[in-house]
């Protein structure tokens, strides 16, 4: 019985990765065609629309940009998106499509959320079903789900052009890359995926919330409040409570499926509801769960293949895919083992089975672990189980995947460009060790490339350590922590690992909707997004000018197994050197406490 379940979970994971590999190849080939301006099967529908957009907006289809122009266009566009979203959230109470009569966000929450969605993080210090209007959801948050994803993809394509082009000045046109991403890639896939999700039970409507009568009514005790909202106490100092009967259930409604599809596809992760993809209306069946995980990984996986196509060697793309796949499978193995063994403190009270706190029955352990690791390996951050309630080592896995810099597939675009920065470092270090000239794909790695790669790789790490330290020495920072002991440290570490790396998932116990955390995490998200992005564009500007050096006996082959292993080692060592002390004090100590008993 137990063994069959284990076998079926493993089968589910094997089927998943076989399918992902196929998707990577076909989607990757399609994306390469889109970005190279070739005809695709969707051109008959979208090419006229695309040309129409360029005519209306005055964009010159044949204009090219150097890296600085590309960066300026990207910054203007993202700034604009942030301002519009900030205003929309602040003023949502005055706009239509608000059947629940929600009022506007507070200024710091609106700021945090606007930054969060434009940086592709989707950190959520608010709870969707009790604060965001339908208009904010579709015209604010979902729009940025598309546009922040398209921004990340445009940047990585500009970087790939820097590698692929020879002795050139320009790296493409930001407006074209952005428009094509939305039209040819995100929009069509999202429409199809959303409808399939509805077939499984994800809701899609604009109705008001619905009251239904319960089969068995219940009641709850609520503290009685005086006119100033202070709890009233009796003569002995005990709180007076009133019994409130519950005969009805109020079901939230909304355009969920359309949000859900792009939330996964663009590795955004911001849920319609507070419980995110654990909520049955966001993720109702094992198949919807499987599809959502596939959507999360499709584009990041496909981009590795697109890279291979665009630089003229598929093997180079597969090599990076292999590195990412290896690290993800390793993470799945460890987390599955940790959760499968369960919580000994609970087993002592006559309970058997794996750790079910914060998990849904329908996904099973396989579907839960696959989601939890995939969402943090990429910068998605949607969750189908509460990470705060994972076992210490099980919860360390998402933390580590984020702290590695979101390179195990990573965010759409951002994951691949950060991994390419690691490649540059790996090539350079290997070159020093074996006395070969550091070059990648025929381009010499020199001082500029090294500087920009180091900035890309280390920015998030510096922000995490610095901001965690600040949070832990300020009383306001510490007062938000919900769980005592080493787990509390993990909560703060997780918050900044998640925001600085633009993931957006959370150890939900931390009360993040305070002025302190809203501003600190917003700053972490901004730095973590735009400093690496600018460094990558600058590196592309430097690479694109170089001439092509044909491979010689002195070249280190970057599409062979030794290099794949070397790259895995470099990623792990950089991560371990930066974060080992923090992980030792958080998850490791907690693991020992759990084994020893409290």
């Amino acid at each position: 019985m137990q063994n069959t379940e284990l076998f079926l979970d493993i089968l589910q994971i094997l089927v998943f990765f076989s399918l992902l590999t196929l998707v990577a190849k076909f989607l990757g080939r399609y994306m390469a065609r889109v970005y190279q301006g070739e005809r695709t099967m969707l051109s008959p529908v979208f090419a006229p629309l695309e040309n129409g957009i360029y005519r209306v907006t005055g964009i010159d289809k044949n204009a090219e940009m150097n890296w600085k122009q590309y960066a300026v266009a990207m910054l203007i566009f993202n700034c604009l998106g942030m301002i519009v979203l900030f205003a929309l959230l602040l003023l949502q109470g005055h706009f239509p499509l608000n059947p629940q009569k929600f009022s506007g966000f507070s200024w710091h929450l609106a700021l945090n959320t606007a930054v969060s969605f434009t940086t592709n993080t989707n950190w959520q210090a608010y709870s969707g079903e009790s604060s965001a209007t339908y208009l904010s959801q579709v015209l604010g948050l979902a729009v940025q789900n598309f546009l922040s994803a398209a921004t990340g993809m445009a940047i990585v394509i500009a970087f790939i052009r820097g590698l692929a082009r020879r002795t050139s000045e320009t790296i493409g046109n930001f407006w074209l890359d952005l428009t094509r991403t939305v039209l040819y890639i995100l929009f069509p896939i999202a429409v199809v995926a959303a409808v399939v999700l509805v077939s499984q039970g994800v809701i899609q409507n604009f109705s008001g919330y619905k009251n239904v009568s319960l089969l068995q009514s219940t009641s709850y005790e609520k503290p009685k409040l005086d006119a100033d909202n202070n709890p009233i106490k009796d003569i002995n100092g005990n709180q007076i409570t009133v019994k409130i009967p519950v005969k009805e259930q109020r079901l939230p409604m909304g355009p969920v499926a359309s949000q859900e599809a792009i939330k996964e596809l663009g590795t955004n992760g911001g849920g319609f509801f507070n419980a995110n993809s654990a909520h049955p209306y966001e993720n109702p069946t094992p198949f919807s769960n499987f599809l959502e995980i596939l959507l999360i990984l499709s584009i990041p996986a496909g981009l590795t293949y697109a890279l291979g196509r665009m630089v003229g060697s598929s093997r180079q793309g597969w090599a990076l895919y292999a590195v990412m796949l290896f690290l993800l499978v390793l993470a799945i193995g460890v987390q599955y083992w940790a959760e499968y063994n369960g919580n000994p403190l609970v087993q002592k009270i006559g309970v058997h089975g794996y750790n079910m706190e914060g998990k849904e029955v329908r996904f099973g352990l396989g579907g839960t672990v696959l989601f939890s690791t995939s969402t943090t390996a990429t910068s998605c951050g949607a969750v189908n189980a509460m990470h705060d309630s994972l076992t210490p080592l099980g919860g360390m896995i998402p933390l580590v995947l984020m702290l590695l810099g979101e390179v195990v597939f990573g965010g759409v675009g951002s994951g691949l460009y950060t991994m390419l920065a690691f490649v540059v470092i790996a090539v350079f270090v290997a070159g020093l060790m074996i006395g070969r000239t550091p070059e990648y794909l025929g381009k010499k790695i020199e001082v500029t490339e090294m500087w920009m790669s180091v900035i890309t790789v280390l920015t998030a790490g510096v922000v995490v350590l610095l901001f965690v330290a600040i949070a832990l020495i300020t009383p306001t920072g510490v007062s938000s922590i919900a769980n005592p002991g080493p787990h509390g440290l993990s909560e703060v570490l997780y918050a900044f690992a998640s925001t600085a790396n633009n993931n957006g998932s959370a150890f939900g116990g931390l009360n993040a909707n305070t002025v302190f955390y809203n501003l600190m995490t917003a700053l972490a998200m901004l730095i973590g997004r735009f400093i690496p992005a600018l460094a990558i564009l600058a590196m592309s500007g430097s690479l694109v000018k170089k001439k092509y050096v044909p491979p010689s006996v002195g070249t280190l082959p970057t599409d062979q197994i030794p290099f794949i292993i070397w790259l895995v080692v470099v990623v792990l060592i950089v991560g371990a050197l930066t974060f080992f002390p923090a992980l030792a004090l958080g998850p490791f100590v907690e693991h020992l406490i759990m084994q020893g008993g409290i």
């Binding site: 939305v182 259930q249 654990a278 069946t285 998990k359 329908r362």
Partner: protein
Amino acid sequence: MKEIKKAVLLFVVLSLLTGVLYPMVVTGLARVIFPRQAAGSLIYKADETCIGSSLIGQSFSDPRYFWSRPSATADFSYNPLASGGSNLGPTNKDLVNRIKECATNFQSTGIKRLLPADLVMASGSGLDPHISIEAAIIQIPRIAKERHVSEEKVRNLVQNYLEDRQFGFLGAKRVNVLKLNLALDNL
């Protein structure tokens, strides 16, 4: 300056495409092809009153019904306006005490064997509509006794409402508590 104008215009066009056209297309298709699912998979009684959703769990404490998993939603269990988990860490005393209390509650109904984890640990959404097969089976004696029917009859009902892994290998075996309890009332 020219770039700012382009940025504003492109932002407006893409917002219309992804923020207006996209949700409208999806809503339209959903309403035509899958109207029941799009509206929330609601369950209606014979007199057309809505009794809940097959996807959203409800709280049960009456011994005549199968009990759902604990729920950590705010104010009261299975409050759909406050979806979420307990967010208690694995070594938190509050978690262990809460589970102990819940386990004692089950043991007081005469259950001697080890309890399945899902029955005493809260779900992530707080709205989990399912329990595991084992969690249903250990409640059968209590329900049979309370309703004065044979255990055999209740067991057959659970068998009928057993949902297998989707396509044979996805997810987990489970039972929908609300559907099962509705069927109990019709027994």
